[in-house]
Symmetry: C2
Subunit: 312 residues, 2 copies
């Protein structure tokens, strides 16, 4: 009986893989992304690694219902991927190709950030919620939107690009995308550091940060928790824009939960509480607000999402 | 054979009704909303009017597959309506009640603005598009989101409340909802008049508007089309915020078309072109942009959406 679902999360440096028996992750592992092997070469590596691991666990491909795969780029509804910058892929159909390599095994595909949202919706922070939005605060800001238990991918695979919604007017510097005032410019790890630097430059507020040569978003958060005045101001500033973004997303999608993930979310409940304060401030229209919670699957969210794609 | 679908759009002063034979609207009419009759009284009026009209057209209830109904308030997924301010309804199940009155005929229900979005997606400006967003610019700003041909309603029936997404920082006055900087404050007919008044007060720019005692959004648009400097400035200002809203919605839902409806949209292609200019300016991330088009069903959008609810 075919009962296994495989999740594969392809990143620029490593590929995460997981074998699920119904809802249970029974084994997970990682392999290197050897981009130099080219598009088919990377997929062949995935295929070989899966076959090997199944054998180790006394399974065969016959036991596998399908594979759900995440790639770092927009995916059209027919599985077409125009470009994955980090993988040097252009104009490819990764799911169709992997399926062909693997004896026509069903392969499903989605954008990696969207897939993480599906994983968190299935067994993570949004478990039990039909409508949820994941916001990942890392080097950049990404996310995904789940409605009625399914991912929204959009007409050009660009749905859930939460990092680039405009939340601030009159932003002096531009975002990597070319726009001004993107959420990513404020709420990413880089954004937090940049905001702190501006407050250091533009104000006289006391701060231990003035004694640092370089500092990270984690440093700012740790100091904010210890009541460093400028660090607190920075985190409040960041969280206000996150609160505005969440309030706006509430009015468009109206989910019952927002899940905060990514490296910055290691700040924990401290950060969630401040974000929630500004979400409430910016959404007086209804008291039926969504919950704000922390992501719980960490780097495994993508492989969970992959398995869910197979099982849906 | 049951082949008819009925659309019913309940407003504060009138109720629009339509009979559809498959995709064709074969008859439409209107009755007054006599709120004083109370919740069941209004539904009885609808039931009586439908039966009468079917008889006139030589049909019976046996020919009807179902009714799709729009109400001016949030609708939960189980059909519960907590409040319709304009109808004095509280804690009701309009679809269940109408179905009971009408011999268990299937009745579907949605928020009226969402229903109009579904109507435009089915046979209006977004026809042929799987993913679309309607933005209605009237006394207020409303809308609805259609994904994969179906309405997004959200966990509390609040999805598509596009008028209350925050697009402007440092707005001096507050919106009816209590927030500051809502799209409705800028892009509604009222918003356009208010913006023009502020420019009249805060600038020395020449304008025929300075000779008007009172003026409407239509006056501002007409003067802008005739190159009145302050009127042009007002419409550019309004459209910039609409462009930002559309750019943000694109990144969340990624539809292939935006439909602009409501009274203000009578400004026509002139307005669409300016909105599109600011949409492009604010979405450098991808050239795969949605089209911006005018709504085409006018006040019938709701009954079209109602019929589509039945036929989906």
């Amino acid at each position: 009986m075919k009962k296994l679902a495989l999740g594969v999360d392809i990143g620029g440096t490593s590929i995460k893989l997981g074998i699920f028996d119904a809802e249970t992750l029974i084994f997970k592992w990682e392999i290197a992304t050897i981009k130099e092997k080219g598009f088919e070469g990377v997929l062949l590596d995935i295929s070989e690694s899966i076959k090997e691991k199944l054998k180790d666990l006394n399974y065969t491909l016959e036991d596998v219902k399908g594979i759900g795969m995440g790639v770092p780029g927009p995916v059209l509804s027919d599985g077409f991927v125009k470009v994955c910058v980090n993988l040097n892929w252009k104009d490819v159909y990764p799911a169709k190709t992997l399926s062909k390599i693997m004896n026509e095994l069903p392969v499903f595909i989605s954008n990696d950030a969207n897939l993480a949202a599906l994983g968190e919706a299935w067994q993570g922070g949004a478990k039990g919620h039909e409508n949820s939005i994941l916001i990942t605060l890392g080097t950049g800001v990404g996310g995904g939107v789940v409605v009625n238990g399914k991912l929204i991918t959009g007409s050009h695979g660009l749905a859930g690009e939460i990092g680039h919604i405009k939340v601030k007017e009159n932003m002096r510097s531009s975002c990597n995308c070319g726009a001004f005032g993107c959420l990513e410019q404020l709420a990413s790890a880089t954004g937090i550091v940049n905001s702190a630097k501006e407050f250091l430059k533009d104000t006289e507020i006391n701060s231990k940060l003035r004694t640092y040569d370089v500092f990270s978003a984690k440093d700012v958060i740790d100091l904010a928790k210890a009541n460093d005045e400028l660090a607190v101001k920075t985190i409040e500033y960041t969280s206000e824009y996150l609160g505005i973004a969440i309030a706006n997303l509430s009015l468009i999608i109206n989910p019952s939960v927002f899940v905060i993930g990514g490296g910055v979310s290691r700040a924990g409940q401290y950060l969630v509480d401040i974000i929630e304060k500004y979400y409430i401030k910016n959404s007086p229209i209804s008291e039926d607000r969504a919950k704000v919670v922390l992501a719980s699957l960490g780097n495994d969210a993508g492989i969970y999402g992959g398995a869910k794609l197979v099982l849906s």
